[in-house]
Symmetry: C2
Subunit: 383 residues, 2 copies
């Protein structure tokens, strides 16, 4: 969906194009929304939109599906209601902007969409949006209202994360062989839907997802993925949507286990939680992003003893760390898991956290040559 029909076609003469299945579906949802509004107006009724509520009270953990999902709560947004008219207008405006993007077969960032739609309302001094923060939640509203992914609306999130390993796929018509990507790797785009990326061939046995690019680089430099026949990804911290969606596709379409090598701190636990169960904020996208079978491969609170680490490489827990750790321990999906409770308790007892990079104090390649191979051989993961 990101291909332009022809580089010489000017914007002003965009023709109706043959849409792919995803675009057709999204377009149907967008025009369906517009039809409802017109229908209401024609029947002499006040136009309104029912927007699923993204508040905490409308989010729950589904223990069967094992991910966070949204409930059925909705908020009505009416045109003829002084306090709702502006957000009603904004919702319709964002929908029409996305329609334009799909029609022209182009994508843009949330910043781009904001600029595309920002203008002074005719006959008034009011702006459609005052600033970016005014526009962002409306984009999420449109996503949930239409039950589409942001990417399907041709709006992309940030571009962060890289991949190398034994997999070949097509990206926008180009064949990408991730075993021949040099030191930099393939930069994971934010839109990785099947219209853009089609998997071709993979011998890989699993995906190793590491938290940071610095750690990823150690694994790539040591050609870990070649020796262990895997795919190596990172998300630059909390992985952005594109990385999460790609992991989800690798897991579900290619049946690859996903192992996460994260820091032994509340932030590392939280990243794992988001990869596995989804996040509260993006609960409506869990079904396409959450990987309930993802495994946590380290670092662990017991590693200080197990790996015989020096006190020099420990970092004392802050008050915020302690508070966050307790919050995470009480998440419904961690609450009943003894190994996780033990893991978090041990960290609190230790009084310190450990970064994956700290393993370099053993030897430079300890993490790739000993730590991860040992965990894989033992099958010592947290679930």
């Amino acid at each position: 969906m990101a291909k332009k029909t022809s580089p010489t076609t000017s914007n002003t003469e965009v023709k109706k194009r043959k849409m792919n299945a995803t675009d057709q579906k999204t377009m149907a949802a967008l025009t369906g929304l517009a039809d409802e509004i017109v229908g209401a107006a024609e029947r002499g009724r006040a136009p309104h939109l029912d927007v699923p509520s993204r508040s905490l009270s409308n989010v729950r953990y589904n223990s069967t599906k094992r991910f966070i999902e949204m409930g059925n709560g909705k908020n009505r947004r009416e045109l003829f209601n002084l306090s709702q008219a502006k957000s009603y207008m904004q919702t319709v405006l964002v929908s029409s902007g996305c329609k334009q993007l799909i029609e022209e077969d182009k994508t843009t960032s949330i910043r781009g969409l904001y600029y595309l739609l920002k203008h002074t309302i005719e006959g008034a001094r009011e702006e459609t949006f005052d600033d970016q923060a005014d526009c962002d939640p409306v984009i999420e509203d449109v996503e949930v209202t239409l039950n589409t992914l942001r990417e399907e609306l041709h709006v992309y999130a940030s571009n962060r994360g890289s991949m190398v390993g034994n997999i070949t796929f097509i990206d926008s018509g180009d064949e990408i062989d991730c075993s021949r990507m040099g030191s930099g790797g393939y930069s994971i785009p934010s839109i990785v839907e099947p219209d853009i990326i089609q998997f071709k061939k993979s011998d890989a046995k699993f995906v190793l997802h590491v938290e940071k690019d610095t750690v990823w680089r150690r694994f790539n430099e040591d050609k870990f993925w070649r020796q262990h026949n895997c795919i190596l990804t990172h998300g630059g911290g909390q992985p952005p949507r594109g990385v999460r969606r790609l992991l989800h596709r690798l897991h579900n379409e290619l049946n690859l286990p996903v192992y996460c090598l994260l820091d032994n701190d509340p932030w590392g636990y939280y990243i794992y939680s988001v990869i596995k169960q989804g996040s509260i904020n993006l609960a409506y996208e869990s079904k396409r992003m959450a990987i309930p079978n993802a495994r946590y491969i380290g670092l662990r609170s017991k590693d200080y003893d197990r790996c015989n680490l020096s006190p020099s490489v420990t970092i004392a827990l802050s008050d915020t760390d302690i508070k966050r750790a307790k919050q995470i321990a009480s998440y419904p999906w961690f609450e009943k898991k003894k190994p996780w409770q033990k893991e978090i308790e041990q960290m609190l007892k230790n009084g310190f956290k450990l970064e994956v990079e700290a393993l370099i104090s053993k030897t430079i390649s300890y993490v790739t040559e000993e730590y991860v191979p040992a965990r894989l051989a033992e099958g010592d993961f947290l679930d």
Copy 2:
């Protein structure tokens, strides 16, 4: 230098390897430093290091070379001086850590080097480094003392920025064809020295460097680089070392003009200034990074009128913006350039800044189909 000799070689049994020319040179500098210290000790003198001063007073603009460079000021660091002993020890320690990295033919991040060297000093309660901030300036000290790039010491900076376009090169033995990189592009690594990356073939006529990944994506999606036969890069804001060094190599080794498409704000001006003249902080690396012939292709203060933009897409200048703009106008390399003085004056007169993304308010592909092609055709750049 990023290749491991053999994936099964354990760290403990690293053999003397055949070093490439860069590593030999860096190694000679490192052992030279150590020899001086030993020599002093043997002659019964107090060991010391002379570290070039990285303070503002030791930095100047060289109007012949047209970049910022360091002066000859040095600070002596003595072992037998209570206030200098620790920083003396740290400097020697970082040097020895880099020597180890080169010997093992491995690279690491500044975080990794910190963990590699952090320990409690024997017989004392003192740590070698208290935290990362304690270690980072010492790495820079070693760089300037040995007149080497951080990358040559096998320490890398952050990994940010992507590239696509008509160029083929070898990265760590893999052939990378940047015209077949899909939507994500080639992720520019932080070490791009000739040992890692060898250019093979390029038909490209110029490099278009844009500020942000979101803008880069618009150009890639519209296949601008194919139509205009160029290389397209971004640096995720202020470009990291790897991106600057790669631009420098593309410019000098392949004789490609470098055009920078940046925001019409003090930050955009500053990014241009760093790409072109180098930065005060990394003045000692200017000769390998600065591109005095780089050209600024926009956005311009006159674009509000020239492109007939809506007041809705302007962003009012903050007090900080105004202060920064005046500072930049007084930089020696902007001070005598009338077009730049006019540019900055006009921005201050406008009272607002403009982001490249704001051009989407014309049409989605205005920037790729009209704005940049028009500037290239007119040759309307700032120098």
